[in-house]
């Protein structure tokens, strides 16, 4: 039974390497269609990393209002398209919700790198008069929240979280808080798009990226051959409402955000363990559930041996049984702030269709001792999903999604 004020998801839309739109993404995810390939957005031949999960076929002249195209980075164009799609999907009549009771909370981790690179090139090659006025807002982490808020008249408690790749879950947690404080609807989610030379060099500095050139053997989370991850672009947006008002208006409910927690790892060399297991337990406590209630875990799945071992160890420590683990990021690469949001969408589709997608191409390392779903999707009875996310430097978050069914 879902309590009256619980945050539920009533609409969603996706712009991702796996597809534009929820169903396209879900079909590609279930089919295991690889969305990682050689980088086409810029000439990457001089860089050590050559592959990425790029969004293909996104026509901003169709999916974004024409006035906003020259003013915004690609990440914001993704957010604008996905926000509109999610609102349409929710069938919410916005005229019934006062502007100050609508909010936007997104996650972002790169800012508008591609736009910023263009303007920096103008600065050093032609001079300051040639730097566009929109650089002042287009680069900013909050640009997505701001543009979506302006476009749809969401004037309530808006915000942005910048917690690297944990951001998608932290945004959902903050959206839930905003609903508890009285908002009637929150657009939440996140998109990133920094597949350009400037964005790329900042990512290369982490040393976590795979330098392989075979798309099928490059990003292999939990595989004995794991050797780093590949970047991707895109993300998703969700419409969240309180359960009672969503049911009153007869909304279709994908699922409820019943639990959320976040934490931060101790500094390197402290000797203390990473916080992932504790954060996962706190999210379950928050949901009033135990490890025995979880039907599938969406892993963060970084794809480096050390971080995979740490995550597998946390999963074993919390569950003490072979719980099914999903790692759909293996298909898309890591979308930065958009990655965990896309996992939320995919997890909600697991709840809807009672099937767990496979981490295509991965052969799980038996030493990790986790039940990673590989090869083909696995049908299962799914009432509760735990989604894990970690960001560079120690950001950690966990979310619990529950089936909206009446007797669960």
């Amino acid at each position: 039974m879902i309590a009256a004020g619980t945050a539920v998801v009533t609409g969603m839309d996706v712009v991702a390497p796996t597809g534009i739109g929820v169903e396209e993404h879900w079909a590609a995810t279930l089919a295991g269609t690889p969305a990682i390939g050689p980088i086409e957005r810029f000439d990457a031949s001089g860089y050590p990393v050559r592959l990425a999960g790029e969004v293909r076929g996104f026509d901003e002249t169709v999916l974004v209002p024409p006035r906003l195209v020259p003013q915004t980075d690609r990440m914001t164009q993704f957010a604008l398209a996905a926000a509109e799609g999610a609102l349409n999907d929710s069938a919410l009549d916005l005229s019934t919700v006062p502007e100050f009771e609508r909010a936007v909370v997104t996650a972002n981790s790169s800012g508008g790198f591609e736009f910023g690179q263009r303007e920096l090139e103008n600065l050093w090659s032609r001079g300051s008069d040639y730097v566009g006025a929109y650089q002042s807002i287009a680069w900013f982490y909050a640009a997505n929240t701001g543009q979506v808020s302006i476009r749809h008249g969401f004037k309530g408690n808006c915000g942005v979280v910048a917690t690297e790749q944990a951001g998608g879950l932290d945004a959902a947690g903050q959206a839930r808080r905003v609903l508890r404080n009285g908002a009637r609807v929150v657009l939440t989610g996140g998109t990133d798009a920094s597949l350009c030379p400037w964005g790329f060099i900042t990512q290369l500095r982490t040393g976590l990226l795979s330098t392989r050139t075979d798309p099928s053997r490059a990003y292999l989370p939990f595989d004995a051959d794991a050797n780093g991850f590949l970047p991707g672009e895109g993300g998703a947006m969700l419409v969240m409402e309180p359960y009672d008002s969503a049911t009153t208006r007869g909304a279709r409910i994908y699922g409820a955000l019943t639990g959320y927690a976040c934490g931060f790892d101790p500094p390197p060399g402290s000797g203390r363990p990473p916080v992932l297991a504790r954060v996962a337990r706190r999210a379950l406590d928050d949901a009033g559930l135990g490890p025995g209630d979880v039907d599938v875990v969406f892993a963060d799945a970084v794809g480096t041996p050390e971080l995979d071992r740490a995550e597998a160890s946390a999963i074993r420590e919390v569950f003490r049984r072979p719980v099914p683990v999903a790692a759909p990021k293996a298909l898309t690469g890591r979308l930065y702030a958009g990655g965990a949001v896309l996992d939320l969408v995919t997890a909600l589709l697991c709840l809807r269709d009672q099937v767990i997608p496979a981490a295509a191409g991965v052969r799980v390392d038996p030493r990790l001792d986790i039940d990673l779903v590989t090869g083909a999707p696995r049908p299962a009875a799914i009432s509760t999903v735990l989604v894990l996310a970690r960001g560079y430097g120690g950001f950690t978050a966990a979310a619990v999604l529950s089936h909206p069914g009446k007797d669960r």
Binding site: R67, D129, A133, Y134
Partner: protein
């Protein structure tokens, strides 16, 4: 001598900040406030920088603030061209 027209203004604005929400650049939009056409202060600053560069005049930010409609903007630019 060069004359600056509504079409010139429209071309610069569209390039700088996207198409107007009302569609075409005709006499009907001459006296509409820029904000009704969907252009905010950033759009006007961006457009004024480009116009200044094209016509080799300097348009101060204070003057941009006073340009409320396409007509006042076109008149301002033409007055500056005459004076220059």
């Amino acid at each position: 001598m060069t004359t600056f027209t509504l079409e010139d203004l429209g071309a610069v604005l569209e390039d700088a900040a996207g198409a107007p929400e009302t569609g075409a650049w005709n006499d009907e939009v001459l006296d509409l406030p820029f904000y009704e056409l969907g252009y905010d202060s950033l759009a006007l600053i961006e457009a004024s920088t480009r116009i200044g560069r094209q016509l080799k005049i300097t348009i101060p930010d204070d003057a941009v603030v006073e340009m409320k409609t396409p007509r006042t903007a076109v008149e301002y630019v033409n007055a500056r061209l005459k004076g220059a």
